[in-house]
């Protein structure tokens, strides 16, 4: 019918956010884990602080296991993937069965990765599944508005994460630029003043990262 309900609009948006959160946090974990193996063994505390998540972990091993796999830890990669799945599974009618299969595969691959002592290998498959999901979103979802809502969620999440991680100015500028190009193509209600402020903010010499995160999180008005 080509029209989207309030519930589905929200689910599309959060599908974009959660898939991005899984993707970026898995990649970030992979690079941090590499250093934790032999150089910065207790670096997980800094990792938590960077991502602004509570450090509830007892050791490097506890962190590596629970941050990836613990379904009861709302900040774990697995937990975020399950939230992506929760949104995807009720969107078959909007996005089709094929894209959902990649989220389902990511869930299976995530569960398989728990059985290994080399978590990055398993996580790489999850990252591949998410990338394939985004590819198929572009390729198979006919409704442009549907695609743009998912991508807006993805862009907002990435900007939020990059802001928290205090990424370099060029990266933040690029994400703001991409977000501005995307959100204006949707029928989402958003705060135009906030978007302009974001665009101006990233032109400054010193970036106010806290404000970037705040603006990203409150940009959508629905």
């Amino acid at each position: 019918m080509g029209i989207i309900s309030v519930e589905n609009l929200d689910r599309l948006f959060w599908l974009g956010r959660y898939t991005e959160r899984v993707y970026t946090s898995a990649r970030l974990f992979a690079s941090s884990f590499d250093r934790m193996i032999d150089v910065e063994i207790d670096n997980y505390a800094a990792f938590c602080s960077q991502l602004d998540i509570p450090n509830i972990y007892l050791s490097k091993e506890d962190f590596c296991s629970r941050y990836i796999m613990d379904e009861t830890d709302p900040n774990s990669i697995c937990s975020n993937l399950l939230r992506a799945y929760d949104n995807a599974i009720v969107l078959r009618n909007e996005i089709g069965s094929e894209p959902i299969t990649y989220i389902q595969l990511a869930v299976y691959d995530m569960k398989k990765s728990s059985a290994t002592r080399a978590p990055i290998v398993g996580l790489q498959k999850v990252i591949d599944d998410i990338l394939a999901f985004w590819g198929i979103v572009d390729d198979m979802i006919e409704n442009e508005n549907t695609r743009n809502i998912i991508k807006t969620g993805k862009r907002i999440e990435r900007l939020d994460l990059f802001g928290r991680l205090q990424m370099d100015r060029i990266s933040i500028q690029r994400e703001v630029h991409r977000l501005a190009g995307r959100i204006t193509k949707t029928n989402l209600h958003y705060d135009t003043a906030m978007l302009s402020e974001l665009q101006k903010l990233v032109e400054k010499e010193e970036i106010d990262y806290a404000r970037v995160v705040e603006l990203a999180d409150h940009l959508r008005k629905d």
Partner: protein, 439 residues
Amino acid sequence: MQELKLTKQSEIVNELLARYGVKFGIYKNNVFKEQLFPFDTIPRVIEKENFAHLEQGLKQRVMALNCFIRDVYGEKKIIKDRVVPEEFVYISSGFLAPCDGVTPPKGVYTHIAGIDLVQGKDGEWYILEDNLRVPSGASYPMIARELCRRSSPDTFEDNHIEDNRYYAKLLRWVMDYVNVGGHTVILTPGRYNAAYFEHSYLAEKTGAHLVSGNELMVEDDYLYFVDYTGKKERVGAVYRRISDEYLDPMTFKEESVIGIPHIYDVYRKGNVALLNAPGNGVADDKGIYYFVPKMIRYYLGEEPILQNAPTYLPFYEEDMKYILEHFDDLVLKDVAEAGGYGVVFANKMTRQEKEDFISLLKKEPRRFIAQEVIDFMDIDILEDGEKTPRKADLRAFVLMADEPLVWKSGLTRFSRNPDSFIVNSSQGGGFKDTWVLSQ
């Protein structure tokens, strides 16, 4: 039939089914869990001539059932003529007083009928029950066939099998036939319903919009879908996958939070079609099942093509006598239960249980039916790579628009327990594809 190449691909097919999320939901200790629906690659095969016989019988049965529902909520001739006792109609939990005098668009009540059958060892098909409210299951053989073709194309080149892809078109045809103007939607109770996969899959395949109750609203006797901008679009047909009692809190259960207030008023005024029609439960009551052969004779003037499993109603003195004399040979079913629950095999009861059951039977004769245990044909399944026989039934789907049409496929469910006749997925059963041969 020679060994199928498909059976060597069982693992691949089941991996694909998992990837496509072919699951059903189940509540265990009040916790919702999604489970994969185990699929067995050995199909049930029905010869062309045999299916032609089944098809005629199924059409006949569903036409008679549709006539019965129209009559019961209309002129009530079958009651006046004492073919079906009024006690059985009016005390049935499926009889809904608000449906009295209401005729659905185009007079169709049984848009989608799921008729459960078993094949006896003599080759004869027996009807086990008629499901006329919200029968589920068509999506499973639809997607399983597609994934089997993908896994073993040779199998489908080597065998002449009726194509089952057209179910979605058939369903859409029925929806469009009764649509009174506006969009067609599939109404789901939501993600935590046992058959949610099916709801979303059928919506995708038919192109109907999948909605939950809070996305629909009634205004000025019309039903609307409301989008996120607040724009309202009229809805002309609702394939509802929620039970009658939860459909409209203003007419049925007032505590329902998944229904749409006043949708029944819209329906009563002819401004929306509901598939299946509310009130159909009066015809698929296990007690009414006994009378279906009589309905066929009464409404169509024909002899039934398909037989019921031999059934006795303790309500009738003569039948009660038979039940008590042959108690150990019978299976007893509580007419209010579904999903394989409320079914007891007398020969498995202890002496005390038998005594208790018989006294209950005498106290509440309308509550139960008794049936002969049909020695139905076993079908092979693959277990650890070996073929082993199991009990299986068939759910055939009959769709009704201006005429009934039988889908040349169906859901074959089997028991995974060698000692059990219960095939329901909620009780651990699996499923098979149903092949109807085209030559």
